[in-house]
Subunit: 190 residues, 2 copies
C-alpha cells in the first residue's frame, strides 16, 4: 500500500536489532484518518469472505482492528495479555513467547465471544517472528471457529512469522512487507 | 446518553465490589459502530474547544479515543503502562496506584508528541477512583499543554474520581453516570 510505505519511509525510525518504530502514527500516537484507510484496505482484501468476527491483541492492534471492523460491520475482540493463565472454564488461554523481552506471557479470550459458527479475521499491527499471531490462531482453533486469514499492517519479510503461518495454509495479507534494513533505511519487497 | 444507558442495562454485568463489566461492547469485545457513536458524542461535547490532541491510556481507552479523534480530526496518543519508570529524558512518567489490584504502575508518554502549544482532551472508558485520569492530567501538566477537559464513557458517580477532578476545575463530561448498584442492577443518576 503506497500511502503506508511512504509514511513508514518518512516517519519510521530504525534502531539496532532490526527494530522499526512507527510511534508517530501507529504504536504510540495514532492518526485516526490514516488508520481508518488502513482498516478499509484490510477489509477490502477480505471482502470476499463472510467474516463475522475480528480478533486482535492488546494494545497496538486495537486501533487498526476497530477500523477494519467498522468497515466490515462486525464486532472486534481484543485478546488480553496476562502474566499467568486466567483460571476458569469460560476462557481460552494460550502461551506466547516474547523474543524481544525473552519472557512468556499468556493470551486470553472469553469463550462468550467466539464460537464454532464464527468466521474470523485476525488483525495485528506487526508480524515478525509470528508468536502473537500463532497464539491468536491457536485461540481461534480452540473455539472451533473458521479462520479466514490474517491482516497485518507491517510484516518483517526477513523474519519467519509470515512463512510459519503461510506454511499452515493460512492466508496472510500484509499491507507492507519489509525486505531488509540497510543503513537505517527501510527496503520494501515489491 | 440514552443508547449507552440502554446498552449498559441490557448487557452490563454487575459483580460484588461494585464491579461493572461491559465486556460485550467496550472492554473485551468492541462494537465499532456503537463506539463510533460514543466517540462522536464526546467530540460534540468538546466541539467548542480547539482541541489539537487526544490523550488516553492503553488498552481499553484506545477504541473510544480513536473514534473521538476521527470525529475531531486530531491525533490520539495512548499512554503506556509499565512496571517501572521508563528511563531517558524523552519521556513523561507518572506513577498511578491501582486500587483494584493493590499495586502501582508507571504511565509514560513520549515528549515528542505533546508540547506547550497543544490543547488536550483526555478520553477514558471508565472513571472510578480517578487514579488513571489524575495520572494523565499530571502528564499533560508536565508537558505544559492546556487541558481542555476529560471525556468519560462510564463514571461511577458514587466514587471519588469525578469529584477530585472537578474540584481542580477540570471539566469532566461523562456520557453515563452510575448512581449505585442495587440488587445487581445499575441505577443511573437522573
Amino acid at each position: 500500500l503506497k500511502l503506508l510505505q511512504d509514511r513508514i519511509l518518512k516517519e519510521g525510525k530504525v534502531f539496532p536489532g532490526n527494530i522499526l518504530k512507527v510511534d508517530s502514527f501507529l504504536n504510540h500516537q495514532l492518526d485516526p484518518n490514516f488508520i481508518k484507510e488502513i482498516g478499509a484496505e484490510l477489509a477490502r482484501r477480505f471482502s470476499d469472505q463472510k467474516i463475522t468476527k475480528i480478533v486482535t491483541i492488546e494494545a497496538s492492534g486495537i486501533a487498526v482492528a476497530i477500523m477494519t471492523g467498522l468497515e466490515l460491520n462486525v464486532p472486534v475482540i481484543f485478546a488480553k495479555k496476562h502474566k499467568s493463565a486466567n483460571m476458569g472454564s469460560g476462557i481460552f488461554n494460550t502461551t506466547v513467547k516474547s523474543y524481544t523481552r525473552n519472557t512468556e506471557f499468556v493470551v486470553s479470550l472469553s469463550k462468550e465471544y467466539l464460537n464454532a459458527d464464527d468466521k474470523v479475521l485476525i488483525i495485528d499491527d506487526f508480524l515478525a517472528v509470528g508468536q502473537a499471531a500463532l497464539g491468536l490462531v491457536d485461540i481461534v482453533r480452540q473455539s472451533g471457529a473458521s479462520l479466514t486469514g490474517i491482516g497485518i499492517v507491517i510484516e518483517k519479510g526477513f523474519m519467519d512469522g509470515g512463512k510459519l503461518l503461510r506454511q499452515q495454509g493460512i492466508r496472510v495479507e500484509s499491507l507492507s512487507v519489509i525486505k531488509s534494513f540497510q543503513d537505517n533505511q527501510v527496503i520494501f519487497e515489491d
